[in-house]
Point group: C2
Chain length 108, copies 2
């Protein structure tokens, strides 16, 4: 799917879906391998993987009867650039100002 930061954030908003996604960090895995050890059923994992795919965070490769999932770095890239919108120089300047305020308030 085309990478979209908003959809990626929606996808990563769920804890167990993050667990599924984090299992892809270790490399390519089949659905069975991903579901193993998780306390949800295999169909649930399949549904999570579908959401991750739609969000541009995962890719599939069919191999025999198995489907091997892996991280789609384009989704991660989309998230990075979205985050960068909250990380420009003006905001950093404000951050230091806030921290000074916090220190002053801590020592009245």
């Amino acid at each position: 799917m085309t990478p979209n930061a908003e959809r990626a954030l929606d996808a990563l908003g769920d804890p167990t879906r993050r667990l599924v996604f984090k299992r892809l960090r270790g490399g390519t895995r089949s659905v069975r391998e991903i579901a193993e050890g998780l306390d949800v059923s295999r169909p649930a994992v399949s549904q999570h993987l579908k959401v991750l795919r739609t969000a541009g965070l995962a890719v599939v490769r069919i191999e025999g009867t198995r489907r091997l999932y892996a991280v789609d770095t384009r989704g991660v890239e989309a998230l990075r650039s979205w985050l960068d919108g909250f990380w420009d120089k003006a905001l950093v300047a404000f951050k230091t100002a806030v921290e000074r305020e916090a220190v002053k308030r801590r020592k009245p």
Copy 2:
């Protein structure tokens, strides 16, 4: 609140909460200013801001009767480093491999 990537992702999983958060990108704003134009009530915005604060994504500064909210860059930083865990060289190498597969499949 102490910056935590998981909680930040939980917070940004909601669309209207992202709208609230994106309004902080323009600089410091009061709750009234943030709620203006949104199709949810002002108390709803307050609740969203509380979640963003708990997630380490927003900071408050009291000024008279108003509360000025701003982006907490520490939360954004936490998200960035979390994302970097899915962005190492091994994954990039795999990405190019997947793209080659996709091209082959498109031209059978």
